[in-house]
Symmetry: C2
Subunit: 212 residues, 2 copies
Amino acid sequence: MSPEKRRIRERERRRRAILKASRKLFLEKGFNQVTVSEIAQKAALSKGAIYLYFRSKEEIYAQILLNDIEKFHKKVIHIFREERPASEIIADFADFYVKFFLTDRELFRILISFMLHTNNVGFTEEMNKRVIQETNKTISIIERILQSGVDSGEFKLGKEDIRRVRNVFWGMLNGIISLHLFVGKETKREERIRTNIENGLAIFIEGIKNCM
Amino acid sequence: MSPEKRRIRERERRRRAILKASRKLFLEKGFNQVTVSEIAQKAALSKGAIYLYFRSKEEIYAQILLNDIEKFHKKVIHIFREERPASEIIADFADFYVKFFLTDRELFRILISFMLHTNNVGFTEEMNKRVIQETNKTISIIERILQSGVDSGEFKLGKEDIRRVRNVFWGMLNGIISLHLFVGKETKREERIRTNIENGLAIFIEGIKNCM
DNA sequence: TGACCGGTGGTCATAAACTGACTATGATTT
DNA sequence: AAATCATAGTCAGTTTATGACCACCGGTCA
């Protein structure tokens, strides 16, 4: 291996170290409560060095978001493997979504603040764009599921309907989870969320099968 | 961890990388056939960087030697654990010595050239002193074994005798191994060496039990 | 014998990476 | 609204790394 190659590797290793350290801190304390000095310390670098790898604290945060969203994507993509009724696939999606975020409450908090466009972090337009773009990829998965339901005759929806239904479904998912994470009690949280979402889904699917 | 600590760690990691890379090369090709540029390349560093970690090619070599000798020490030290006749312990030592070096023919070549004081590498006096000092530690182990034999009444040797016997034993060990490694055939090498040393030991122990 | 030559150990000017004291700014207290 | 504080971001100085270069040595050939 050439010195050049080695340096590139080490650069990437440090970058990952910074991301790993700051992710942990952000999840523990929230964006605003974390200082760049803290991140530097945890990554065993000086503050100045952080700025050799990222332009700003926000950029670090954005990168973490993008990584997490990508991670979710890679996992969720397998839901499409099987040939089954769209209503089942969409229930699986919901199930997976809940499970994925319940493993890390703060990860959800971080992502949901973007997904619901309620973040108060001073991102540049560029950063916002990229994060939203990635988020939309996830949302479009729902659209694909709905579309397959229409194709197979299971649902009867127009093009515009699909978009609306997608938004309702997405909102419902995040709304229910948020409700229980931020308001509800710890006890039996997962069960409550699941029940809520099952109920929601039942109404939801019945609705789109018959009404529209 | 502080930046300072991290840097020290990384420094040590590089140093070890250089030693690891050059050890491999030295064993493969011998000291003179290895260039510093090769070492640098294998360690994924520039040539100049090598000289930030070692003063010279010889110093690298010396460090490898010292490490290897130390490694041998740490392993051989356990031979003293048990309470047994000195003649058995010394046979074990011989056995261990053979086994240790047969696992790596070139390691033996490297070390023996020092132990027999036949190295042609341009070490500084300082380096030679340290390596010889470490080698003498190993030789003194033999002395301790002999001494314990005298203490228990198994051998009858004066102070001066012990030193002479030690040298004879040491020379015999290395001589026999060298003989087979550099002259003898590959086939049944270990067996031949063992047989030789067993014979040598029998004569040797009989000699020091009765004659001196 | 001595001029030449290829190869290599070691050097050093330059570049890259890192550091932490410092500055500017926005929030908070008095 | 002045003063104090906290902290994101900067930058001059330091450390570490690079590879072209030099000096030297051993071998070759006239």
